[in-house]
Amino acid sequence: MPRSVRVRLFATARLAVGRAVLPWPVPEHGLRARELVAALEQAYPRLAPTLRGSRFLRNDRYLRDLDETLRPGDEFAVHPPYGGG
């Protein structure tokens, strides 16, 4: 069992970080979505504006709020505003 979540970055989020997938360590006391987003923002300042306009998913489901706790092995997706069509 990995001690990390798998952060998946799309579109402008992927371009800001320079990669589509980013493993992120989960500390012993656990990791709230809110903490992960703050940590990503700090690690990748260019990602900050995108994060503020993004929706987030845990294991392919939209997060209800940022207080959800992520577990090791979870996927965490960052969805900037959609642009299909």
């Binding site: 799309f10 579109a11 402008t12 998913l57 969805h79 505003p81 959609y82 642009g83 299909g84 069509g85």
Partner: protein, 151 residues
């Protein structure tokens, strides 16, 4: 399949085969094509579409169900290209077969409006391949949802 994310070309002819297989007096189909970027100095020749596949398919199926219920649609298409789509090609096709024309128009309009804003698909501009680096090059970037160039 009413719902489809594909790398193959999309056509109205193929949508027609599906939409006319079921009864209904009115068929409305929308095709969205990649437009030439008219900004000065642009070298965009294609869009590259990216998707988060599992939630995208779930959302497309939810739209399909909603359209059947809300507009009495007997058949639907919700098709989107992935990967590189060149200028002039069809990137998206939505359509509905309904008893009457008002519902069919409303259904197709609903499907494309919702698809654009609620389905995890993104586009990124792709420039013309250049052999020698030109003095100044338009920098292709991700098109935001608010881009005026999306149909």
């Amino acid at each position: 399949m009413a719902v489809r994310l594909t790398r193959r070309p999309l056509t109205l002819a193929e949508a027609e085969r599906r939409l006319r297989a079921r009864p209904g007096g009115a068929v409305v189909v929308f095709a969205g094509r990649v437009r030439r970027d008219r900004r000065r100095g642009s070298s965009v020749v294609a869009l590259e579409y990216e998707v988060d596949r599992v939630p995208a398919l779930a959302r497309l199926r939810a739209l399909e169900r909603a359209a059947r219920r809300r507009f009495g649609a007997s058949e639907l298409v919700l098709w989107h290209r992935l990967g590189r789509v060149r200028v002039g090609e069809v990137a998206v096709v939505v359509g509905a077969t309904c008893p009457h024309r008002v519902e069919a128009f409303d259904a197709a309009r609903y499907l494309i409006d919702e698809l654009k804003t609620t389905v995890p698909i993104w586009k990124e501009e792709r420039g013309r391949p250049v052999r020698r680096p030109p003095r100044r090059r338009a920098r292709p970037g991700v098109r935001s949802a608010g881009s005026g160039r999306a149909p």
